[in-house]
Amino acid sequence: MFSDFAALIVLLPVIAFVLTLFLGKKLPHGGAYLPIAAIAGSFIISAGIFLEIYPEGIVQQSIPWFSSGSSTMNMGILIDPLAIVMLLMVTFVSLLIHIYAVGYMSHDPAKSRYFAETSLFTAAMLSVILSDNILQFFISWEVVGVCSFLLIGFWYHKPSAAAAAKKAFLVTRIGDVLFLAGIVMLYVELARIIENPANAFEIGSGNFILQFKTMFEAIPLIDKTQLTYITLLFFGGAVGKSGQFPLHGWLPDAMEGPTTVSALIHAATMVTAGVYLVARTFPMFAATPDTISHGVPDALLVVAYIGGFTALFAATMGLVMNDIKRVLAYSTVSQLGYMMLALGTAGAVLGSKAVGISMFHLISHAFFKALLFLCAGSVIHAVGTNDIREMGGLFSKMKITAVTMFIAALSLAGIGIPFLNIGTAGFFSKDMIIEGAFEYGEVTGDMIPYAFAVIAALLTSIYIFRLWFMAFTGKPRSERHSHESPSVMTIPLMILAVLALFFGFSHTGFYGYVESNFELMGVDLGVHEGEPFHPSVIVILLPVIVGVVGFLIAYLIYNKRILDMSKIISSQNPLYKLLYNRYYEPKIGADLIGVKLTHDVAAQTGEFIDRKIIDGLVIDTIISSTIFKIGEVIRKMQTGVVQNYASITILGVALLLVLLRLEFGGI
């Protein structure tokens, strides 16, 4: 019953977007109730569909869109386990963030625009999730990008916001172009496979060329080298969208938008789209040849290394940031790295289990990261600054925020009790990733991804508790009178805190359900499905140990102050400088590549060629100095241009006749 209305999951927020955009100003709270009602509707439909299809149903609906000759592009919906868990998470988290925003944005004069844009943002993300084909996926993905541009630049009168919005769009656009190139190559490959009668490959009736189903069925026929290119290009798109190294720079800058936007971007929508893309096309990644490392598909190897490196790399920068939102932003980049790492490492040795592992962390991250951002918003709302050095001692003033944020931090740090299976959401999800990376190391002998994961876990724990201790404990460092936020803001915090604490217990059911995804779609992964592994005690304990150690380090330094950090934090310390300047990424990316090379060198050279060479040497010398002058003369003689034109035409025809006479010997 609910599955008949699957399209409404996307359409409701779209309708809310249009209504809010044009009518929002006249409605109370900037029309916030429209998107809230719409997204609640999407959530209810998603939940209804989930109950209908669990445990092994799939919803597929497809209509032709536009015809590409023999092959037709379509629009469609595919709700499989992978999609439904994402749908539930996105609609639910987005709903909470929207409710919270009613309080958070209450003083903003442009709030109707805000709610319109977040509604579209959510709709686009839902459309990404629901797509049954790669083209619609890409289109929705681009709309997500535009909405992020609009929302990051929401306060467009701030030059830094306008710049950050542009950076976000352009950097992700680099990934998008790679993604598009991948689609182009895939399409051509598929069309050639279909055209070649030797393959006896046909698209079944009701199916279309760029559908995931068709893509997966064609995997055995796709040239292996091409498949590696295609998957790596797709991954390029994911790197941009999910802020992986080296396209990570836009994400921390994206903090220029309202905090609720950051929560939406970092938790529910947008950045997870990249991970979702790799998970969605996982059978293709898994089918790439293993030319570099034996038994490890090349594409997954790249995913594992980029993900693992990003997890560690971003965590190092999280250690030194003083802007509360930037710490969280680097945390997001790092955690997305974990999700990629899981797809790469576990994917290579455990097959489709990796998708379950990665998605589980994606969902649990969505809960605790949304919570962290909303808590940060609550703090910023109260103290009026983003700088954690100016906070401190807030615990007594805003207890709900402090406690819920502590829960989120515990979850991010992956604290729990091994063997008893008691722990936060992050405990279950992150442990599984680290263990997967260990298993990968055992099988392949390559322990580097595992090392990335463990060290990053230690740093994660340090930076998040540093943040918490600096904000909530110690003496207040600013004069401002701060207070707890209104209940429209604290209730979403509490709901998310409950999820960040208890979501982990669903892990067994979750893994089994999401793992069955490609099986349900009838896709043979063709890779070895690993046996359930039994790691040693130290492997199981290590993630928790580093989490606790990180907590203690942060506690001793930032609460007990046993160490004077001012000696380390100085412009003299080269390591600190490197981290604080974000490895000089803004300088290299925006200043060097963006402005110097592209604008100052390439574009200005073009301008020079145009003005000085084509126009200057050729046109203005040849045309202007001869014909142009004739034109001037004629014009001055006040004979109109029409006569001029006529005379030239006659001249031309005469010339032609002479030529033809010479050529044909008289006509």
Partner: protein, 505 residues
């Protein structure tokens, strides 16, 4: 009773004449608007009766004109011409409405706009090369006056440069047409300017223009190609365009970019592709077109990035976008050709929004120099809204018409021209770059107080742009009504070229 096509052309011509004679500004603009709407209504009637499943000419009408040299007034429409006739009839009423506030010599202003409609419709429907050429030249004249009377400070230079440039190109094209004519005359012994007969006679043309250097076939081909790509315009024959745009009044720019450039692309499909498979050096010609296309895409993009004048930036963006037309045509895959045709239609709509945005800004802020603007969104929220949508469409945002066109061109050209497609893909990031960078500096950020008090666009201006935005969205989500007209003809065009796929790559 005349056929619908000639009725449409005659009505716009009559409307133009009445507008010229109008006594007041009110009369002139009312007549112009009503005429263009009647013409639109006829175009829609033709569109509704149009059969998208056949590639042959429809609504054909033929009247004897100068039988002694074989000139016939012959008109007809197929999937190549029909979308462009629709486009012209969408753009012209909106342009008239957008320019509702024009005060300087209103009767002549609106009359010339209608005359442009007459000219381009003639070009897109003529099936006789002689008549085609006449319309081709008729289009030049109103544009020359639009620039030289209502233009900016360097209007004289720009108008003459525009005129000479495109006129030289036309003349070269005329020479090639005459070569075809006399060739056909020599073979059949019957004088005829019938377009299809002449194009067919190209197949049996032989001889050299200069022995050992270039054959007559290649020379004719290059002559025609030159005539068309100057109009598009393609690098390196493009420098007239930015100058013309900078000086032209907004209405002139809209017509120039949305309709006149399309004549070049139309020529590629109507004339160049049918003879390409029979040219002596087809591999070289394909490669040449592909290079011109890709260089235009990339060069236009970088030049747009370098511009300080918003309108000049938009002008270079046209060069870049029209590069997709050349690339898609050169790839000779049915859907790359359809994509190229769709790009023509789509770019016509999108570029209208962009030039109108520039016009509103110039009018309100008194400058278009990006550097001197800044933060105008504060006082121009309506303009910002439509302009942003136009810019997003122009940078190829999926969901809008430009994406469908570029996607079709890129995907399908990859079959035969993979290297060129990869090069073209590089342009996409920079395309997004210059659009957003310009918006960031000109529209967003802190308001530049030096601009003083500025006001939002007039309602008729915003409404015209909003209609275009809606069309761009509509044809981005549902390309079928227009795309279906093109596909059959595109397939027909590449039928002879199948053996050519991948020749020179």
């Amino acid at each position: 009773m005349a056929g619908l096509i000639s009725l449409m052309i005659l009505i716009s011509l009559a409307g133009a004449l009445i507008t010229f004679l109008a006594k007041t500004r009110e009369q002139a603009r009312t007549v112009a608007l009503i005429t263009s709407i009647i013409s639109l209504a006829i175009a829609l009637k033709i569109f509704l009766g149009f059969d998208s499943s056949i590639s042959t000419m429809q609504f054909v009408e033929s009247y004897s004109w100068i039988p002694s040299i074989g000139v016939t007034l012959k008109f007809g429409l197929d999937g190549i011409g029909m979308p462009l006739v629709l486009l012209a009839n969408i753009i012209i009423p909106l342009t008239v409405f957008f320019a509702w506030g024009e005060t300087k010599e209103a009767n002549r202003f609106y009359g010339l706009i209608l005359l442009e409609l007459t000219g381009v419709m003639g070009v897109f429907t003529s099936l006789d090369f002689f008549v085609f050429y006449i319309f081709w030249e008729i289009v030049l004249i109103p544009m020359y006056f639009l620039i030289s009377i209502w233009g900016g400070p360097r209007k004289e230079y720009a108008a003459i440069k525009f005129f000479i440039y495109t006129h030289v190109a036309s003349l070269v094209m005329l020479l090639a047409i005459f070569a075809l004519y006399f060739n056909s005359l020599g073979i059949t012994g019957r004088a005829s300017f019938d377009m299809f007969e002449l194009l067919k006679s190209y197949q049996v043309m032989d001889g050299d223009l200069i022995r050992g250097v270039i054959s007559l076939k290649d020379a004719v081909f290059l002559g025609l190609l030159f005539g068309f790509i100057v109009k598009m315009p393609a690098v390196p024959f493009h420098t007239w365009l930015p100058d013309a745009h900078v000086e032209a009044p907004t209405a002139g720019s809209v017509i120039l970019a949305a309709l006149l450039l399309k004549m070049g692309g139309y020529g590629l499909f109507r004339v160049i592709l049918p003879i390409l498979p029979f040219s002596d050096s087809k591999g070289i010609m394909i490669t040449l077109m592909a290079i011109i296309g890709v260089v235009s895409i990339l060069y236009g993009t970088f030049l747009a990035l370098a511009q300080r004048d918003l309108k000049k930036m938009v002008a270079y963006s046209s060069i870049s976008h029209m590069g997709y037309v050349t690339l898609g045509a050169a790839a000779l895959v049915p859907l790359s050709v359809s994509g190229a045709m769709y790009q023509q239609f789509s770019h016509g709509l999108i570029t209208g929004i962009l030039f109108m945005s520039c016009g509103v800004i110039q009018h309100s802020a008194g400058t278009r120099i990006i550097h001197d603007l800044g933060g105008i969104a504060k006082y121009m929220p309506k303009l910002t809204f439509v302009m942003l949508l136009g810019f997003l469409a122009s940078l190829g945002l999926p969901g809008m018409s430009g994406f469908i066109a570029e996607f079709l061109v890129l995907v399908n050209s990859y079959f035969t021209l993979p290297t060129f497609v990869i090069l073209a893909l590089f342009g996409i990031v920079f395309t997004a770059g210059y659009h957003l960078w310009a918006m960031q500096r000109a529209v967003f950020g802190t308001y530049n107080e030096k601009l003083g008090h500025i006001h939002d666009g007039a309602n008729y201006e915003i409404a015209s742009m909003a209609i275009l935005v809606l069309l761009v969205l509509y044809f981005g989500l549902n390309p079928n009504p227009v795309l279906n007209m093109m596909t059959v003809n595109a397939e027909q065009l590449v039928k002879f070229a199948v053996g050519l796929r991948g020749v020179m790559i």
